[in-house]
């Protein structure tokens, strides 16, 4: 994992807050939306990654400067990977 800059970390915390709020409020305007964040502000919403990329570019913001989340997804839980290795054995850590 690459380290986030201080500004990116602030944007990430802001994005997590949006995700928490969205998951707890079924009437949130961000339900099932992609949300673009830059400098702790929502700069765009979209229904697809392609649409979000286009919107960020149209704002003159670098696509790697903004942070994009799926507002209805929980980024604060652990997602399990129960993978097989090539020998067909379960790989546990």
């Amino acid at each position: 994992m690459t380290a986030m800059t201080e500004d990116q970390e602030k944007d990430w915390q802001f994005a997590l807050e949006i995700s928490r709020d969205t998951r707890s409020d079924p009437h949130s305007p961000y339900v099932n939306k992609l949300v673009g964040v830059f400098q702790q502000q929502v700069i765009a919403t979209a229904d697809s990654l392609e649409e979000m990329e286009s919107k960020i570019k149209s704002l003159g913001i670098g696509t790697h400067e903004a942070l994009v989340i799926e507002a209805s997804v929980d980024y604060e839980r652990t997602y399990m990977i129960w993978s097989l290795n090539a020998a067909g054995h379960m790989a546990f850590s």
């Binding site: 994992m1 690459t2 990430w12 994005a15 697809s48 990654l49 392609e50 979000m52 990329e53 960020i56 696509t63 790697h64 903004a66 942070l67 994009v68 989340i69 799926e70 997804v73 929980d74 980024y75 604060e76 839980r77 652990t78 997602y79 399990m80 990977i81 129960w82 993978s83 097989l84 290795n85 090539a86 020998a87 067909g88 790989a91 546990f92 850590s93």
Partner: protein
């Protein structure tokens, strides 16, 4: 509906995908087809190496915590992925992990979220795995 199938790789199911970098160069990767990789609502569709993700990344999608075979926190990226035989090309969400965590002799994992966006299975042949558009 369109269907594509692949023979098993060392007895495990795989899919072959075409990846495109921001300059338009394409290359191919074989991924483990793994319904045990995350739930349907996970924030990623693919697990790829950090090197591939750095090369392919179009946007940053934050980070995610993984457990089980690949423990830790990892960056998420939007990348362009295609399966030509299905006329499928789209931006998808990939989590970037050190290549040491990837399955032996494969270049990544197609998660349950991705596989579940198709019909998937052996389609009557126990030596193959395939995808069919919904």
């Amino acid at each position: 509906m369109q269907r594509v199938t692949w023979l098993f790789h060392n007895n495990v199911p795989i899919i072959e995908v075409q990846l495109t970098d921001p300059l338009g160069f394409t290359f191919y990767r074989q991924l483990l087809a793994d319904t045990g990789a995350g739930p349907s609502n996970s924030p990623f569709e693919l697990v790829l190496s950090e090197i591939d993700c750095q090369r392919l990344s179009l946007m940053k999608l934050g980070r995610v915590g993984l457990g089980g075979a690949i423990p830790g926190f990892f960056d998420l990226h939007a990348i362009v992925m295609g399966i030509p035989a299905l006329s499928f090309v789209s931006q998808v969400r990939a989590v970037a992990v050190p290549s040491i965590h990837l399955p032996d002799n494969l270049q990544g994992i197609a998660s349950f979220r991705f596989l579940n966006s198709f019909h998937y299975g052996n389609f009557g042949d126990p030596n193959q795995f395939g995808l069919e558009t919904l």
